[in-house]
């Protein structure tokens, strides 16, 4: 038991050190003339651009569902006007960042962990070291920045499509002008809502990228370690994102 606890603490400290190193190399990436920019562009393309379709579909559906449920429930209490507040709170503050994080975990978290695991098994990481390339600066830092930037952009994208989905339902139930719908939404939108969504997607982006990179780099020799790294990356990313979401929400409402 004592040994297990000591092992867990050691791993936590090691992953913390890894995180600090990734953070430092990410800052330095823009000052170096290394070839990491290509990796950064490819990561944004894969994590951000290519995920736009599924994000839009999911956001439209969620926005429509919230409106359908909310308008029937609120009408019973004569609080139909609260619909706009609920849409902003649920989509911009909660579901937007969280569901975007789930999409990114499912697509990019697994991809990063298994790709790095494969590189470790094939000694490609050692080959980078041998020619003088720091794998953290060349491989980890661009992926870290790429995932964080993509998370931020996808979150905004999710919010826009979520509110559009809701608008489509509104047109069916109680047609309203496009301008009026968005004017009502912006009337209840506060800087706190925007800040909350931004902070959550930033933190989730950091969690997903660092967890996936860490699990990928932890692969040592065997090919069988690679899928395990993918599973662990997904599991730990989900858990940490939900935990961080609860903590940030608690700080927001109880603080």
């Amino acid at each position: 038991m004592g040994r297990a606890a000591r092992g867990a603490i050691e791993e936590f400290l090691y992953s913390l050190g890894f995180f600090v190193q990734v953070l430092r190399e990410s800052v330095l990436l823009f000052r170096r003339r290394q070839v990491g920019f290509r990796v950064l562009v490819m990561q944004i393309l894969f994590t951000g651009i290519e995920a736009m379709g599924i994000t839009a579909a999911m956001a439209l559906a969620i926005g429509a569902a919230i409106n359908l449920i909310g308008s029937s429930l609120l009408a019973e209490f004569g609080q139909g006007k609260l619909m706009y507040t609920i849409l902003i709170v649920v989509i911009a503050r909660e579901l937007g960042p969280l569901l975007t994080a789930f999409i990114v975990i499912a697509r990019s978290g697994t991809a990063i962990a298994t790709e790095l695991g494969g590189m470790a098994v094939g000694h490609e990481l050692e080959a980078y070291v041998a020619v003088g390339v720091n794998p953290i600066s060349f491989i980890a830092a661009p992926r870290f920045i790429g995932v964080v930037v993509s998370m931020l952009v996808l979150n905004v994208y999710f919010n826009v499509f979520g509110l559009l989905g809701s608008f489509v339902v509104v047109q069916v139930l109680r047609p309203i002008a496009f301008n009026e719908y968005f004017r009502n939404l912006f009337a209840v939108l506060t800087p706190g809502d925007l800040l909350s969504g931004f902070a959550k997607s930033l933190v989730f982006g950091v969690i997903i990228s660092v967890s996936s990179l860490y699990r990928g780099f932890a692969v040592e020799r065997s090919v069988t370690e690679v899928p395990v790294a993918g599973i662990k990356a997904v599991g730990s990313s989900f858990m940490l994102c939900i935990f961080a979401d609860v903590v940030m929400t608690a700080i927001q409402y109880l603080g």
């Binding site: 000694h123 041998a130 020619v131 390339v133």
Partner: protein, 308 residues
């Protein structure tokens, strides 16, 4: 003379298993050192530790007297530029073309080079290892032997002075494997220091200046090639027993006196067959005995050998 690479009291642990134990070894400038040993003896780990790719748990690795672990970024970059590492399984970057695999070291360490210089260096390295196919293919399109050749070329693209080759002849076809000793000879003629892990006795017989034998993660023996041929301790002999003793080449002045015959002798007879285990007190014969066999001074023993 400051050693090119020096390992001092290296302990290397992986997965709770001690791969290298209290290992000290020196590679002198211009020396070609073969690290030999059975499977799992720690040859690859030793080479990676010496090249600063794998970090030991204890001990230091010195490059020209400077501790690798304490080098500044500039010093480390200079070390990486001056050294090349050929991996046992090629370790090419799968998501890059062969050209980019070969060009990365050049782009990294020679930032002033333009496209022309980089391409020249890449093509020269590919030519050196005898690869004349499409350089814009991906590693997955190649056979394992071709990948290995490209891995070797990547190690040599910047013409390093210090080269590590991890089992460079394994997984190569016969024709490609035959090129590797020529490449090593070319490196030697350029004065490079070379550390090679190999189980191939023929390869070592042709190229080694010195031999180090690893057994169970410890250094069992280290000496010149001539000394290695005479090692008789059982665990070392099991590794070096197939090494071929060399007949010293005739001095150059003899060549001028004796003409073509001496030249032919030197060409054909630099390596003789392995020492038969029945000879000598520990199943080994001395280098002198072998020379006698060749020169016919002891006909009886020579006949016995022929008949065996």
């Amino acid at each position: 003379m400051i050693p090119e690479i020096e390992l001092r009291s290296i302990h290397f642990v992986r997965g709770g298993y001690e791969v290298l134990r209290d290992l000290s070894l020196v590679l002198s400038p211009g020396e070609t050192l073969f690290v030999m040993g059975g499977a799992g003896s720690g040859k690859s780990v030793l080479l990676k530790t010496a090249a600063g790719i794998a970090l030991p748990l204890e001990g230091v690795v010195l490059y020209k007297g400077r501790n690798l672990a304490e080098m500044s970024a500039q010093e480390e970059a200079a070390f990486r530029k001056a050294s090349g590492f050929g991996f046992q399984d090629a370790a090419l970057w799968a998501n890059q073309s062969l050209f980019d695999n070969l060009a990365l070291p050049a782009r990294l360490h020679e930032p002033r080079w333009g496209k022309v210089e980089v391409e020249r260096a890449v093509r020269r390295a590919a030519e050196l290892v005898g690869y004349d196919q499409d350089l814009y293919a991906r590693p997955a399109e190649l056979s394992s032997g071709e990948r290995k050749l490209i891995g070797l070329a990547r190690a040599l693209v910047l013409e390093p002075q210090l080269v590590f080759l991890d089992d460079p002849t394994s997984s190569l076809d016969e024709a490609s494997a035959a090129k590797v000793p020529d490449i090593v000879e070319a490196l030697k003629s350029r004065g490079c220091s070379v550390m090679i892990s190999s189980a191939g006795s023929d390869f070592a017989s042709r190229c080694a200046d010195s031999i180090a034998v690893l057994t169970g993660g410890t250094l069992a023996a280290r000496g010149s090639y001539a000394e290695a041929a005479a090692w008789d301790e059982e665990r070392v002999h099991a590794v070096t027993g197939r090494l071929k003793a060399r007949v010293p080449k005739e001095p150059s002045w003899m060549g001028s006196l004796e003409g073509a015959w001496v030249s032919a002798f030197a060409e054909d007879s630099t390596i003789v067959d392995a020492v038969p285990p029945t000879k000598g007190p520990q199943g080994m014969s001395s280098l002198g005995d072998i020379i006698n066999d060749l020169t016919g001074d002891d006909e009886a023993e020579g006949d016995e050998k022929d008949g065996s």
